[in-house]
Amino acid sequence: MVSFYKKYGCKPCSILLMMAVWLASCLTILSLSFLLVYVLAQGLPYIDTNIFDIKYTTQNLSLIPALVNTILMVVLALGLATPLGIFAAIYLVEYAKDKNRVVNVVGVTADTLAGIPSIVYGLFGMLFFVSFLKMGFSLLAGSCTVGIMILPLIIRTTEEALRSVPISYREGSYGLGAGKLRTIFVVVLPAAVPGILAGIILSIGRIVGESAALLYTAGTVAALPENIFSSVRTLAVHMYVLASEGLHMEQAAATAVVLLVIVLFINQAAIRLAGKLMKGNPNG
């Protein structure tokens, strides 16, 4: 008790503030655990073999096509955004000089992209990819849209990962006679891989959870795509459609469980990788 007083004081104001702090944290953790427990309790009983059928029908409401579509969407979007994001980050870190105007402008625009709500991305995708480039409601239009959405995340995480590679690595490489390009691809990038991967995994989480941007770019067809111009629905859109119809709450809950498990797994992987980066690099 004595140490308690020493640490926290015994003035009523201090005790009140401390109680407020504990209460707020309890509320945060309670709302999270309630949400998780509730969704799991609602959805787990309805996870059966029906919703894992290969083909979607109005009877079984299978989520497998949506799951496959989600994976395709992730692969395509990453294929578009990852090279672009990594190259942009390489320019910002390795080539641009400090206080360069390009760095400032790119930084501001990346922050802007990160702040744009997903429905605005959805409308942009609808206007530009679906109508202007005539892709129609398609896998391709959807993946281009979410590709732009995750671009700032990839740029920022790669930038951070590259900056945490010690300058001595680069100097060592130059000292051995390697050029700038070789240094970047052979020395700097491999050293930054865990950080870059963490960013990519976070982006996967965002794509998997995205619904507003895909509703008017990828459409809501619940079938496996024939090609990249087929309209598809991802898991999050699938869940939204089920829940908003109001008729299939059980299946919506089951889909929510699958969605949650995937997203939680992805986030954990990203956190692990980021932790590995911290440990592996004493200067980071």
Binding site: G9, L17, A24, S25, L27, A96, V106, Y240
Partner: protein
């Protein structure tokens, strides 16, 4: 990967050329985000703003009726809906978020921290449809039974958004609190303040710019959220009649009607998106301003 590029005539590029080409490629990639922002601005504004003129600037912004079937497009109800819902979310999310961040940064025992911090990150990763589902199944009946109304109301949306913006506010505020030099805290202790007072009277005020940036980011999240709000807010396109009545926000207005809109109706929705976009740009600018100020002061 590009060290093996060969020209059509079989000669490999000489080293300097390769360096130059790749530098140009990197620069191009860096400029892509600038081009994309310009493209998004152009697409949304070029389609939306002419509709505003066609409808009439004052009719569009101050009109209290949204009746697409009669070609009456006033978005004041949606602007107010967004403002109410966001303000409500801030009332819930900001105090809880900031206090939780203070707890994480200054009060939390190490063991508890290793559970709490991942939980907050987890809260940030949950998709908005899952939040919406939770709101629909839990918050709507809760509000209906214990507070009143039909449950599909602005208050429900505010409650849900309050939870959704927590991780944003907590993460940014915690970073701001951790950036305050330890000497500030120690100085307060040396002057005889206890732990709680040192934290609340010295560390928290010193981090005020960072905390403000956190709140602004939270506002951005709340204003931009679509799916979760749509599932719980009732979505009636009319002036907000009270917290327990249904209402519609800018984002939900777009997503509900875009599916079947045509002609002026469609352009009016794009104009709604343009208004939302301008709001978000302003919010982003002030976020950047306070973030830079926090960095400079720290």
């Amino acid at each position: 990967m590009c060290l093996w590029v060969r020209l059509p005539n079989g000669k490999s590029l000489d080293k300097m050329e390769k360096e130059k080409i790749m530098q140009a490629v990197f620069l191009g990639a860096a400029c892509a985000s600038i081009i994309l922002v310009a493209l998004i601005c152009y697409c949304i504004l070029a389609q939306g703003l002419p509709a505003v003129y066609q409808i009439g600037i004052s009719d569009f912004f101050t009109g209290v009726k949204w009746r697409p079937s009669n070609d009456v497009y006033g978005i004041l109800p949606m602007i107010l809906g967004s403002v109410y819902v966001t303000a409500g979310a801030l009332c819930i999310g900001v105090p809880i978020g900031i206090l939780t961040a203070v707890f994480l940064a200054r009060f939390c025992p190490a063991k508890l921290y290793s559970i709490l911090k991942p939980s907050v990150e987890l809260l940030a990763g949950i998709p908005s449809v899952v939040y919406g589902f939770f709101g629909l199944m839990v918050l709507v009946p809760f509000v209906r039974d214990s507070i009143g109304g039909t449950g599909n109301s602005l208050l429900t949306a505010a409650l849900l958004l309050g939870i959704m913006i927590l991780p944003t506010i907590i993460t940014v505020t915690e970073a701001a609190l951790r950036a305050v030099p330890q000497s500030y805290y120690e100085g307060a202790l040396a002057l005889g303040a206890d732990h709680v007072r040192s934290v609340f009277y010295i560390v928290v005020p010193a981090a005020r710019n960072g905390i403000l940036a956190a709140v602004i980011l939270g506002i951005g999240r709340a204003v931009g959220e679509t799916m979760a709000v749509m599932m719980v807010a009732g979505n009636q396109a009319r002036m907000p009649q009270g917290l327990l009545e249904g209402g519609r926000t800018l984002t939900t207005n777009i997503v509900i009607e875009m599916g079947y809109a045509a002609d002026l109706h469609r352009d009016a929705l794009l104009a709604t998106a343009a208004v939302l976009f301008i709001f978000i740009l302003l919010i982003n600018l002030s976020f950047t301003y306070f973030k830079e100020k926090a960095v400079n002061n720290g």
